[in-house]
């Protein structure tokens, strides 16, 4: 659908696409705005915006803390939508929402899709919503033309990967390892055979995330994956070295 076509077009001119991740409202929407501006200017191809949740079960310490601090500062789902609309109007690249299912459930599934479509959000990543629990969610995704991004992990069997590919759209998010976000991943031989299994299970573009931190990691992924996801790393960078470092960091990745 729309997201996949957009990504394929970008892939015509680039050997790997960069996806980055921000936590909305952390440390503030003003900083989010500045960071996104630097990311887009320096060639990021797609941005995941995480709507914070009080119980981010699949996230490691960096993103967990960002979720908590954002909520402590009073971030609401409404503010996240308003901000998202501003970003999608300003920039051409695809924006995704990443969040946990309760945020969508509390908002109302259809209302959430409707609003996301209106805000020109292209995909949703919901780590605690397996397709078995997502019957109506997947229907709304079709109706509102928003890609449900499904996740492969090294524990996924070949059969499971095929099954997931049937539900997924836009691209497949391949977690580079077991565990939560943020920790460095080993991209060795085991990883290569895992990625080969991912490749043979689906025709959708493959994004690799979890612990992708620098140019070396991204060089390893070139030719094997279509996209690299930089998540916790830029959040830590903003925390420790300030917003202005984001641009040069992103520019140096490719």
């Amino acid at each position: 659908m729309i997201l996949e076509q957009q990504l394929r077009k970008q892939l015509d001119t680039k050997d790997i696409l960069l996806i980055t991740h921000i936590v909305l409202g952390y440390p503030s929407f003003d900083v989010n705005r500045e960071v996104i501006q630097q990311m887009v200017t320096n060639g990021v191809d797609c941005i995941e915006m995480q709507i914070p949740f009080s119980e981010p079960m699949a996230d490691g310490p960096v993103i967990l803390k960002a979720n908590q601090d954002s909520l402590a500062a009073g971030t609401t789902v409404e503010e996240c939508f308003v901000f998202a609309e501003e970003m999608t109007q300003r920039y051409d690249i695809p924006f995704l929402f990443m969040t946990y299912y309760n945020i969508i459930f509390a908002y109302g599934e259809e209302a959430f899709f409707k609003r996301s479509a209106k805000n020109r959000i292209k995909g949703l990543i919901i780590p605690d919503l397996p397709p078995e629990m997502a019957e109506s969610f997947l229907e709304f995704a079709k109706t509102y033309q928003i890609s449900p991004i499904l996740i492969y992990t090294p524990t996924s069997t070949d059969q499971r990967m095929k099954e997931l590919a049937g539900y997924g759209n836009g691209f497949i998010y391949c977690a580079a390892r077991r565990g939560v976000t943020g920790k460095k991943s080993e991209l060795g031989q085991d990883f290569d055979s895992y990625l080969a299994r991912c490749r043979s299970a689906t025709d959708l573009p493959l994004a690799v995330g979890f612990g992708i931190q620098n140019k070396e990691d991204i060089d390893v992924l070139k030719g094997k994956a279509d996209m690299a996801v930089i998540g916790s790393r830029t959040i830590t960078l903003v925390d420790t070295e300030g917003t202005e470092m984001v641009g040069s960091f992103i520019a140096g990745l490719r």
């Binding site: 079960m57 967990l64 309760n102 945020i103 509390a106 605690d128 629990m133 996740i151 992990t153 524990t155």
Partner: protein
């Protein structure tokens, strides 16, 4: 439970993809155990030799006379090994872990009783063990932390979120998704993703099976009412399950009223309109949350009831009106605890004392020939610091001050 793990509208398995295969294996092994009569026999043998099953049903003669109504019976899960009903579930899962060949167990704990039971099981079965416990609960339940560590477990204080049970569960999940190949998560209550709610309720059902035999033996007929405290809901499901087959037995779950239903500082999910349906920690149930779906802080004097969610099986029974839900405030709980100690020489855990408070309110309205059962899910001596503090006990305070001075001088 249906094929997707739902009880009516509640439950399910909202798990990250990395756990998919593990849940397939867990569900398959659990199903094999359920269909294997030898497994339950092995479980009963273990519980009667390693623990004190069947636990007694005590006739509380003095309390009965005091309230002047129904005969009050107490199901004594406090006399189970490690001092609470928690061991029923943990030993059962221990047998499952042995069959699955996993080498390491992890668990969350609130009051520390589930952590204690898991550390005990790990010691007995030769497994590595890590326990996640909210930092606030580590402070509230220091004696349990001491024993867990002595039995060889690593206790990790969780400093995120509200630093209580729900945060310990999140952290245990983070461990599990990282170490899924060799680790089993011994979920402590009848919550979480399927098959945990049903599996935990199954192991705990031993409480009600025993209690039904015992009450018929002592009282000659079924009780009128059964009271259990409800945090996650495993002790309540344990005693209720057998009696769901008895239409004339009323089942009452007592939730943590904290500072009162109006105060906002409580953990009342079902007997109060504060909670809303939601999905978190792997399952759908009634959660205390705001309109955005963010979980709210909870409060109870009892760490084990201080939880935002509740068993999906209980949400279903609540919706179908098969279980009535009430709540008891911290103050009522302390009064009930006091009178139970003075009249019966029994020390219920602060969690269990909620069930006592619920029962004491209603016992006087029943006739003398009626019986009620209170499930005493655990013993209260673990709560000595909290209880002594709540009673503002002067001689205990002096003891702590003196001991503190002694340590400072060393």
């Amino acid at each position: 439970m249906d094929k997707n793990g739902f009880f009516g509208n509640w439950g399910g398995a909202y798990i990250p993809e990395v756990l998919h295969q593990t849940f397939q294996e867990l569900t398959a092994e659990y199903t094999r155990c359920r269909n294997d009569p030898d497994f339950w026999q092995e479980y009963l043998h273990l519980m009667s030799t390693y623990s004190c099953r069947p636990t007694p049903l005590t006739y509380a003669e003095n309390l009965s006379a005091h309230f002047g109504g129904a005969k009050i019976y107490i199901k004594r899960e406090d006399l189970n090994h490690t001092g609470a009903h928690k061991a029923n579930n943990v030993m059962g899962q221990g047998l499952l872990v042995k069959r699955m060949g996993k080498k390491r167990v992890i668990a969350e704990t609130g009051a520390g009783q589930h952590g204690m039971a898991t550390a005990t099981m790990a010691a007995k079965f030769g497994l590595e063990c890590t326990i996640y416990m909210g930092e606030e609960d580590v402070l509230r339940q220091r004696p349990n932390v001491f024993w867990m560590e002595k039995m060889g477990a690593t206790v990790v204080p969780v400093k995120d979120g509200s630093r209580t049970l729900k945060d310990a569960i999140n952290e245990a999940f983070r461990d599990w998704v990282t170490n899924v190949d060799d680790t089993h998560y011994v979920f402590g209550t009848a919550c979480g993703p399927a098959p945990f709610p049903e599996m935990v309720a199954w192991f705990q059902s031993i409480i009600g099976i025993e209690a039904a035999d015992q009450i018929l033996n002592y009282h000659g007929k079924m009780p009128k009412k059964i009271y259990a405290c409800v945090g996650g809901g495993s002790n309540a499901m344990g005693i209720f399950k057998r009696f769901l087959e008895e239409p004339d037995v009323e089942l009452i779950g007592v939730e943590a009223g904290g500072h009162g239903a109006e105060s906002g500082a409580h953990a009342i999910r079902l007997s109060n309109p504060d909670a809303m349906p939601g999905v978190a920690q792997g399952y759908k149930t009634m959660f205390l949350q705001n309109s955005d779906g963010q979980m709210k802080p909870t409060h109870s004097v009892a760490a084990g009831l201080d939880y935002v969610g509740v068993s999906p099986i209980l949400s279903d029974l609540w919706e179908k009106k098969q279980v009535r839900f009430e709540s008891a405030t911290d103050d009522e709980v302390m009064e009930s605890l006091d009178i139970t100690m003075k009249l019966e020489g029994i020390i219920p855990a602060l969690e269990s004392a909620h069930a006592f408070a619920g029962a004491f309110r209603e016992a006087g309205q029943l006739a003398n020939e009626d019986a009620i059962i209170i499930n005493q899910s655990g013993r209260g001596d673990k709560d000595i610091f909290t209880i002594a503090h709540a009673f503002d006990d002067p001689s205990w305070k002096q003891f702590i001050i003196d001991r503190g001075k002694e340590y400072l001088q060393q």
